[in-house]
Symmetry: C2
Subunit: 423 residues, 2 copies
């Protein structure tokens, strides 16, 4: 009888496995395809913005239109990433399928007119919306729906940055501060990999990041460059405080808009005036859009920060300002690529100040500010390894873990729960 | 007033930070130094065993002496790794300081006479014992003692394998099945790094593992070698089942010894007879000791499995048998290096069967069987990246996560708690 029970259990496991494969593979292919379309559109929008500089004057119109459309037709879509995290914790009204087209179109529009925003929020929302839609169609029970939503996040994140391992870990780590649970470890990995591979299969490439700094074999005391690591830890503290300031500024500014501009579609109009004013006051368009690359020579860019030997003390601050104004007013897009920019730029500043190779410090800031702002130190360490290789794993870990410890309980995702308080 | 509170809080945080730095750095230097001494002694014991083959006949004497000494003078030391994990969950009698010299001497003795055992248990126990001793001397409260013990594990593990990131994550991940909590993320990283650096500073090197397999740029459908990854997932399943069998065989055999040989010091004497019998029946000494390298040409070894193009279908089974007999009878040492050997050997067998480069599959098995047997998939994935580089991160993750999912709730550490059940 024992053997019968054993085979019965294994049979149930196999049918569960078959069910999840049959659900997750098509879902992740769909998410990956939508993300590929999104990345392609984003590239087009960025290129078009550089080709037609007058598009910036449409910023108020675009902002008004998108906030108005969200209010009128978006339903719960406006909840964004926080809604998905909340639905995983506490199943409620579900994640509406229309969130996917809404976020895709409005993010591309934001980038077309020059809003300073990112991509990960969009990809995660595409993933969550498709997962939510599929789950309702299949009438999944709450525990399975939860797994499906986690997989949607993993597929979206893994696909948009080309970092599937970070995507899988991020989807589990972002739910709670201070704890990862392995409810969906294997499904999340599968979803992130298939999402990533789908983007590759569509022929949409990712920006290849690389830093030239190579740790020499023998440096410092006893072959270990303690001083370098100590400086990285101090920088990590700064990255964490910057992340905390970003999260608090975002929430604070959103509260101000709500209080002083009750009619929501008017907020991006005013924000546009501020952004355009800043563009002309600073005489640069470098802080518009994604910031990964620029058609204008000499602009500070994310890829540029990873070049050795830069000096730049102010870019991080301006990008910070442009981004919180853009996103708090209701423009759509993620926060993460701007956080990469802010972190890498702050890394360049700190590296120059502390006498550390700026490209190494930029790479650390790249992932560490994000780690602090989303409380996902492991996912960000792994992302750093996926982007920059295992050579720099130790300084990347020091940066991410320190930033996590220093960022407090602030988070750009308002519905993240605290499992283990930071002390 | 708000600012006053802010500075007061920051001041308290800084003094806490200073306290932990002042405690953790000396502790980790001590752990690292003891581990360096241990690694050096182990190398001496292994070399001596090859030089003086007759030492194997002392196995029964050595076994009798060490189990007798543990019973008579060891106090709670015999609890080993499980005691440390238990003390972290539920502070009780504490981890005795004498655990450190006991485990160091008895492990070296086990290896000198040819027992099939590992290193990680020893290093973790050295770390835990020194942490426990220091914590009692400082009269730390339970929550701080808990952090200190976690750091002891991290320092020991990071130092013994030269993989500090894996050490830090392992110390947090090993406590519970299915959950990592970030109670001591930064302290564990600091301890693991300082422990590792201390070993380096003593000039004790680690075996450098490397595999020659390089994924070609364009393989499989759409540039992704889906078939390879599917085979890795199937192998991961086998690695997980092997890990489960190892854990269950260890516990089962220990129960048999307890039942049929009530006088504990007699158990290793009988086990020695079995081991020596196997050595002469199989006419090989390849499954004695650590198995990382061998002075006898043609022996299967851990480093050998990572060479390309091997065929070996049986080594994993024999090492499995030698190890469970050795350790269940009361010889001392870790389980992890034998698990590396078993996993790598099983990887060679599966790679040859499935038409996958055996060196890649050996590298995956190396970490995946360990991941399954200790329920630490993230630590093992990171260890794989630290040992073999980020190039193979995806197959390493697939192997570790699948093995984790397949190994059930079996664990070589009996006191690990289940936080999230595997389904």
């Amino acid at each position: 009888m024992r053997d019968h029970g054993f085979f019965h259990r294994q049979g149930r496991k196999l049918s569960r496995l078959a069910f999840w494969l049959a659900v997750l593979v098509p879902l992740s292919v769909a998410v990956g395809s939508a993300v590929a379309l999104f990345l392609w559109s984003l590239e087009w929008a960025t290129q078009t913005r550089f080709d037609l500089p007058w598009l910036i004057w449409l910023m108020p119109v675009a902002g008004f239109a998108m906030v108005w459309a969200y209010q009128r037709f978006g339903g719960a879509s406006g909840g964004g990433n926080s809604l998905i995290v909340d639905e995983i914790h506490q199943p409620g009204g579900g994640v509406p399928l229309r969130m996917a087209p809404f976020i895709l179109v409005s993010t591309v529009l934001t980038h077309l007119v020059g809003g300073s925003a990112g991509r990960e929020g969009t990809a995660v929302q595409i993933g969550g919306a498709l997962a939510g839609g599929l789950g309702r169609r299949l009438s999944l029970e709450a525990p399975s729906m939860r797994i499906l939503l986690i997989c949607g996040i993993a597929a979206g994140f893994g696909a948009v940055f080309g970092t599937p391992l970070a995507g899988a870990i991020f989807a589990l780590e972002v739910l709670m501060i201070g704890r990862i649970q392995y409810d969906a470890l294997l499904p999340a990995l599968l979803a992130a990999l298939v999402g990533h591979w789908t983007v590759l299969a569509w022929g949409v490439g990712h920006v290849h990041y690389e830093i030239s700094f190579i740790p020499s074999e023998i440096t410092g005391w006893f072959g270990v460059d303690i001083l370098l690591y100590a400086k990285v830890a101090v920088a990590g503290l700064a990255f964490g405080l910057c992340a905390r300031a970003f999260a608090e500024a975002s929430h604070g500014l959103t509260a101000l808009w709500t209080r002083f501009v009750p009619y929501a579609p008017l907020r991006p109009v005013i924000a546009s005036a501020l952004i355009i004013g800043l563009v002309y006051a600073l005489d640069t368009r470098a802080y518009l859009g994604l910031g990964v690359w620029s058609a204008i020579p000499g602009d500070p860019t994310l890829t540029g920060f990873l070049q050795p030997g830069l000096t730049d003390y102010t870019s991080w601050f301006w990008k910070f300002l442009f981004t919180v104004i853009t996103l708090s007013a209701g423009f759509k897009g993620g926060e993460v690529t701007p956080l990469f920019f802010i972190g890498a730029a702050l890394g360049v500043a700190l590296g120059a100040l502390m006498g550390v190779p700026t490209d190494l410090m930029a790479a650390i800031g790249f992932v560490a500010v994000f780690a602090g702002a989303t409380n996902t130190p492991l996912a960000c360490m792994i992302m750093g390894i996926e982007l920059f290789g295992a050579t720099h794993a130790v300084p990347l870990a020091i940066g991410c873990f320190t930033a996590y410890a220093a960022s407090g309980h602030a988070s750009i995702y308002g519905t993240q729960r605290i499992a283990v308080a930071k002390t």
